[in-house]
């Protein structure tokens, strides 16, 4: 085959980590062939452990394929003399911003790559200056890199990459730890750079709305190439679920409508939102006769009984200069799921850290109406009781495991509370079962489990105390779509058992779908508290600086387009579950058309 100078050729590549012995089971990549054209924008999708990151490492010559070959713009990665040329032309940005910053100052870190490449001054200084300007960080150039926000840190990683003047930019789940607005800013920046510099952009992601922005999608499953094609081809495939992927919410809604009306969507209908809407309009005649399943099970009215009452809570980390949270008044009702939403750094985590008395109130109080009576976090004597009543799970709890076995780790809290061995065993088994852990896992070391399983162990370690209120900080962050769904299944099961749940989240689609009420925080103050529909209709969502749910925005567009065809259709409130929303739309159209007739 002639060497193609204008593509990254992945030719029957297999790779296994560890020693040279390649057994079928340990293959990270297994016979993958694909070609990425120069200047294209490609998304690599797949469940956790499907080999996506390995592919990135192979292209950047951080690893060499065991079998097959990778040829980057005509240079074979196995050729030792071309090794540095390839690595110089290729920049990688990873998931955790903290683990890729080398320099203490923003400017120092940006210079690290080109310094390693031996770029002399004044070109070096010019590259650093340009890269910082392009990433929008020039004004922060002598700030300490540790003091940047998550979004800024990832932009710093981009600046460091741009300063190397690469041909290829690979993002390895680079947006996974960002809030939706920071994520959009980051992607806009990267896509803009791609156009200006003719970069070949490869993004590894779990986020389907990110994938539809690309030209091409590659789907990996267990190290094998499962699918490849344009976004509309991939997302019209029936194999998605099996591969641990999901349709973006707007596609899902149209598919549900098509299913109810017995119509079919062609892959070409998925080219854009407009083509989707056109396709749905064509379904109007079929809607009239469609059987609409009654999915809109009215959510039981949450009880109005208050279980936690926060009054006038304020706190500052630096003795009054700036308040992390101020004058928080909030009631949590027994048995509800309350979502606390807001952008990164708005004070969400500070607020929940008060809920189980890790932070004692500087001003104000939290009153907890537990089974054991009324407790106050301002009262030192109640501390122990509060920590057993309110279970708090921080973000990425899997990094906090420490015991020799999963069983011991889950049992830790009970043991600390002085429970006997007879009490501990059934409690641990119950907590494990609630989180979907099988019994054989209990005797394993927590450190040999997968990321998703570790998170379940950490959750079980809190559930074992049988808390009346469970507070979760971003419980699904960093998980793939299947993992996210499973996590929310666990949460709704817990709710069904009567546990009151407080979730901190910046994923508005999930908050809207799962929460009974939403409490929005901006700059340490509550902007709005209410049911999801109210939150999105009142404009409070925009005011908080959050993006409306994808489904919500699209359903709005679709309803408006349909209303132009069927003017007297009365759709009612937008639902946040695509299947229910689809049924609502079809039902409203059917009713309106019948009335006309």
């Amino acid at each position: 085959m002639p060497e193609d100078k204008n593509s990254i050729l992945i030719d029957n590549v297999s790779f296994a980590y560890g020693s040279g012995d390649i057994s079928e089971t340990s293959l990270a990549l297994d016979g993958v062939s694909y070609s990425i054209p120069r200047g294209s924008y490609t998304a690599v999708l797949g469940a956790n452990g499907s080999g996506k990151s390995t592919l990135a490492r192979l292209i950047d010559v951080l690893e060499i394929p065991d079998n097959g070959r990778i040829v980057v713009f005509g240079s074979d990665t196995k050729d030792d003399s071309l090794f540095w040329d390839i690595r110089r032309s290729c920049a990688l940005v990873f998931q955790n911003p903290d683990n890729q910053i080398v320099g203490t100052l923003v400017e120092e870190d940006t210079a690290f790559g080109p310094e390693n490449m031996g770029i002399p001054n004044p070109e070096l200084a010019e590259r650093v200056e340009n890269a910082l300007k392009e990433a929008g960080l020039y004004d922060l150039r002598d700030r300490e890199s540790a003091s940047l926000s998550g979004g800024q840190k990832q932009k710093l990683a981009i600046a460091g990459a741009l300063a190397m003047r690469p041909d290829i930019l690979i993002l390895d789940e680079a947006t996974a730890m960002l809030d939706p607005i920071s994520r959009d800013e980051f992607l806009d920046l990267v896509e803009d750079m791609r156009r200006k510099k003719d970069l070949t952009l490869i993004t590894i992601t779990h986020d389907m709305s990110e994938a539809i922005r690309c030209d091409n999608i590659v789907v990996l499953s267990k190290g094998k190439l499962a699918m490849q094609g344009k976004p509309h081809e991939i997302f019209s495939s029936g194999k998605l679920g099996k591969l641990g992927l999901k349709q973006p919410e707007n596609y899902a809604l149209c598919y549900q409508i098509a299913q109810i009306t017995g119509c079919e969507l062609k892959p070409s209908d998925l080219m854009s939102e407009d083509s989707l809407i056109k396709a749905v309009i064509k379904m109007i005649p079929r809607m009239v006769s469609a059987y609409v399943p009654d999915l809109d099970i009215n959510k039981p009215e949450p009880s109005s009984e208050v279980i936690m009452k926060i009054e006038g809570l304020s706190m500052s980390y630096d003795r009054g200069a700036t308040k992390a949270i101020s004058d928080i008044d909030l009631e949590v009702r027994r048995g509800e799921i309350l979502a606390i939403c807001g952008r990164s750094g708005c004070g969400k985590t500070t607020l929940i850290t008060h809920m189980n008395a890790i932070f004692m109130p500087q001003e104000g109080d939290i009153e907890i109406h537990s089974k054991h009576g009324v407790l106050h976090t301002s009262d030192k004597k109640d501390k122990k009781q509060i920590r057993q009543t309110v279970g708090l799970v921080f973000q990425y709890p899997e990094y906090q495991l420490f015991e020799e076995t999963v069983f011991k780790d889950i049992a830790y809290g009970l043991k600390k509370a002085g429970a006997s061995a007879e009490e501990i065993k059934p409690a641990v088994l119950e907590a494990a079962q609630l989180t979907g852990l099988t019994e054989d896992v209990l005797s394993k070391s927590p450190f040999e489990l997968s990321g998703g399983q570790k998170r379940r162990v950490a959750l079980a370690g809190v559930l074992v105390m049988k808390p009346e209120i469970l507070v979760l900080d971003e419980p699904a962050s960093g998980l793939d779509p299947r993992g996210r769904d499973e996590m929310f299944k666990i949460i709704s099961d817990l709710k069904a058992r009567g546990t009151t749940i407080v979730i901190v989240s910046h994923n508005m689609d999930e908050a809207a779908r799962n929460a009974d009420r939403i409490c929005a925080i901006k700059d340490g103050r509550i902007i709005h508290t209410g049911v999801p529909t109210e939150f999105f209709l009142s404009g409070a969502c925009e005011e908080t600086g959050l993006a409306r749910p994808v489904l919500n925005v699209f359903a709005d567009k679709l309803r408006n387009a349909l209303a132009r065809e069927v003017p007297n259709a009365d759709f009612g409130d937008i639902n946040f579950e695509s299947s229910i929303e689809a049924a609502n739309i079809v039902r409203a159209i059917r009713k309106a058309v019948k009335q006309d007739a």
Binding site: R88, F94, Q100, V102, P114, L124, V393, Y399, M465
Partner: protein, 269 residues
């Protein structure tokens, strides 16, 4: 919980000491180290204190920042004070009960030692960590110890390791804080119980901290690899070290002050 620890942290300001070449500062640091351990008399110690305050002013470091640097290390200074008081047996007895003998010489000596420790911390902070970014410090050490390369000491690699260690101090403190809060939520208790139990409590913090540090180290190594790091050979510098006239003046001025303090001390003996 651990937000206020500032050991080894850089303090951003635009001052003459911040701009001074890190090599000059490293040498000055050694000069002051010697001076601190030579000076014994009270007037000279007072003069030294005045010099250190002058340095802090030159570096535009606020008293609060300085205090936060000293605060976490005070227990060590106090421990040294107590140990010295209890172990030095020379001099006139002030207090004696069974094995506990406290002497006047012991007290003065112990106070001197404690003061030296504090001077040591403050000088390290002002001359090095607070005013010099870890990467610059690493550059300076690499240059100053470059001759050791001839006897096959991997100077660059050691300097790089040190600089990364310093860069990660805030990150790891944040992580420790998170782990402690999570474990307190699960019923851990670090403030009460016997000394042994408290130490045991910290083991449960150290294990996840170690595990995640290894993960971070691995990630960082990959990221450095991806950014074409291959050791010191062939590397260029964005801001190469260059000694200016001001640097020499600052160096001479502060060396003279240190010498003056020593002279005061010697003349009073």
């Amino acid at each position: 919980m651990l937000e206020n620890v500032s050991i080894g942290r850089y303090y951003k300001a635009d001052s003459i000491l911040h701009r001074t070449d890190p090599r000059v500062k490293t040498i000055l640091y050694i000069v002051y180290l010697v001076a601190i351990f030579m000076i014994k008399s009270t007037p000279a110690l007072a003069a030294l204190a005045a010099t250190v305050i002058l340095q802090a002013v030159m570096a535009k470091i606020k008293p609060r920042v300085l205090w936060e640097t000293i605060k976490p290390l005070l227990p060590i200074a106090i421990l040294i004070l107590v140990i010295n008081i209890l172990t030095i047996r020379q001099g006139n007895h002030i207090f004696a009960w069974k094995a506990i003998i406290i002497t006047d010489y012991g007290i003065t000596r112990a106070i001197l030692m404690a003061i030296r420790i504090i001077f040591l911390i403050v000088s390290t902070s002002i001359l090095l960590t607070l005013t010099t970014t870890p990467l610059k410090l690493c550059d300076a050490l690499e240059k100053l110890f470059a001759p050791l390369n001839y006897i096959k000491v991997p100077v660059h690699d050691m300097a790089m390791m040190m600089s990364i260690a310093l860069r990660f101090i805030p990150t790891l403190l944040e992580e420790t804080d998170k782990i402690m809060k999570a474990q307190i939520s699960r019923g851990a208790d670090y403030d009460t119980g016997s000394f042994i139990n408290r130490i045991k409590g910290y083991v449960t913090v150290l294990i996840p901290l170690f595990v995640s540090s290894f993960k971070r180290a691995e990630d960082l190594a990959t990221a450095m690899d991806a950014r074409c790091y291959s050791g010191g050979a062939g590397r260029t510098k964005l801001h190469p070290l260059k000694i200016t006239k001001t640097d020499i003046l600052v160096g001479l001025f502060l060396t003279l002050l240190a010498a003056l303090n020593v002279v005061i001390d010697l003349s009073l003996r």
